[in-house]
């Protein structure tokens, strides 16, 4: 298993964050008068494209080659779009709509007077915005994984940013399996044998790509627990 080091994006002049639609500096960008939004601007488009002018991360192309060699999966009737990810040894899912960003790992800064190993792992900077970074493993009571099992696929840890009614949360995931569309009949009820903490947040179970069980988390319960948990000292 190889985990490539986080890649630094090439330096770009992020005018959109200063004088553009996401910035608050004055004077405003003159182009906005005509273009209305930075999305319509070729400076913004060029900067986005430049992100692709770098070598592929290690293992990325090999993973794609393997995927391409396989027959394409038949798509099913779709109703619910989920992001499937792994924390410790558990595969979990949340609705795609709550995700704002999934990005390369970056430093998590400890917060003073928070004990290590608590719910709040620290603060994390994603595109200049500071988000509280919480530990789903702590919230869901997941044990740290046994010795990392040898895997034949590329495993990339990520930082996910999700939007809750009270603001954005970041959390670290050990792996993102990707987007999944599931039909309601593919969801199963959570059996009572599942440990209490996890069951409390799980709305349903579904089968992962390799037959593993994926717990679909109830995002509202999760966000409420985060609000409560972070308010505690």
């Amino acid at each position: 298993m190889t985990v490539p080091p986080p890649m630094d994006p090439p330096p770009v002049e992020d005018c959109w964050n200063r004088i553009g639609i996401w910035g608050d500096e004055t004077p405003r960008c003159e182009r906005l008068v005509d273009l209305v939004h930075c999305h319509n601007c070729d400076v913004f488009a060029r900067a986005g494209r430049s992100l692709f002018d770098r070598p592929a991360p290690a293992g990325y192309l090999e993973e794609w080659a393997r995927m391409l060699a396989l027959e394409k999966e038949q798509r099913q009737a779709r109703t619910l779009s989920l992001v499937v990810f792994r924390v410790a040894d558990e595969w979990l899912a949340l609705p795609t709509s709550v995700f704002r960003e999934i990005t390369d790992p970056r430093p998590i800064r400890r917060v003073p007077r928070r004990r290590a190993g608590g719910l709040v792992a620290g603060l994390v900077n994603v595109r200049g915005e500071i988000h509280p970074c919480v530990s789903l493993a702590v919230l869901l009571g997941l044990a740290a994984p046994q010795a990392e099992a040898a895997v034949d696929r590329l495993v990339l840890p990520r930082i996910a940013v999700v939007e809750s009614p009270s603001g954005r949360w970041a959390f670290r995931v050990d792996e993102v399996a990707g987007l999944r569309r599931v039909a309601p009949e593919q969801l199963r009820e959570v059996p009572s044998s599942v440990s209490r903490d996890r069951a409390a947040f799980s709305r349903a179970l579904l089968d992962g790509a390799k037959g593993e069980s994926v717990a679909l988390l109830d995002e509202l319960l999760l966000f409420r627990a985060l609000d409560r948990g972070v308010a505690e000292p």
Partner: protein, 164 residues
């Protein structure tokens, strides 16, 4: 196949721009390693194991400009489909740089084409100050070359090995 949308895929080799009609494009994928085919022309990188098929891979850099496409994320493989002379649908993989954009025909101006003996190159459009040359995907690989490549064809599940 759907009707003409006027949309074309923008490809580059260095600073030269080319285009392929989006109706010919099946899939765009990263520039993955391919299995080389012995005794094939330089611009044929090899065969790509693709969805259970083995497809010939053409490096447009080597074919048109005698230089390899750079190995960047923006360099991609474009799986194209065309109808061969015998009426059969054939698929082919093109490697080109800066495969990040599309262009619209109605925003460009066609300019008259003189026959310069390059059968794979078609219509020329002017986009702003740059010229864009359309590729005739059905002319990129001759029937003979295709036959040779297919003779050497590896089982599709070996197609992923290669020149990493």
């Amino acid at each position: 196949m759907s009707g003409d949308t006027g949309l074309a895929l923008d490809l580059r080799v260095g600073t030269s721009r080319y285009a392929v009609d989006v109706r010919d494009v099946v899939e765009i994928v990263p520039f993955v390693p391919v299995a080389p085919v012995p005794r094939s022309p330089d611009h044929v990188l090899g065969l790509l194991g693709w969805r259970g098929e083995a497809l010939p891979v053409i490096d447009l850099g080597l074919l048109l400009h005698d230089r390899r496409c750079e190995a960047l994320l923006s360099t991609r493989m474009v799986v194209v489909e065309y109808v061969a002379r015998d009426g059969e649908r054939q698929r082919l993989v093109l490697v080109a740089e800066r495969v990040t954009d599309t262009l619209r025909r109605e925003r460009t101006h066609p300019i008259p084409l003189r026959d310069d003996g390059a059968p794979a190159l078609g219509e020329v459009l002017v986009d702003g100050e740059e010229k864009v040359r359309f590729l005739r995907v059905e002319r990129l690989v001759s029937e003979e070359l295709r036959a040779t490549l297919l003779e050497e064809r590896l089982p599709a599940d070996d197609g992923e090995g290669g020149t990493s």
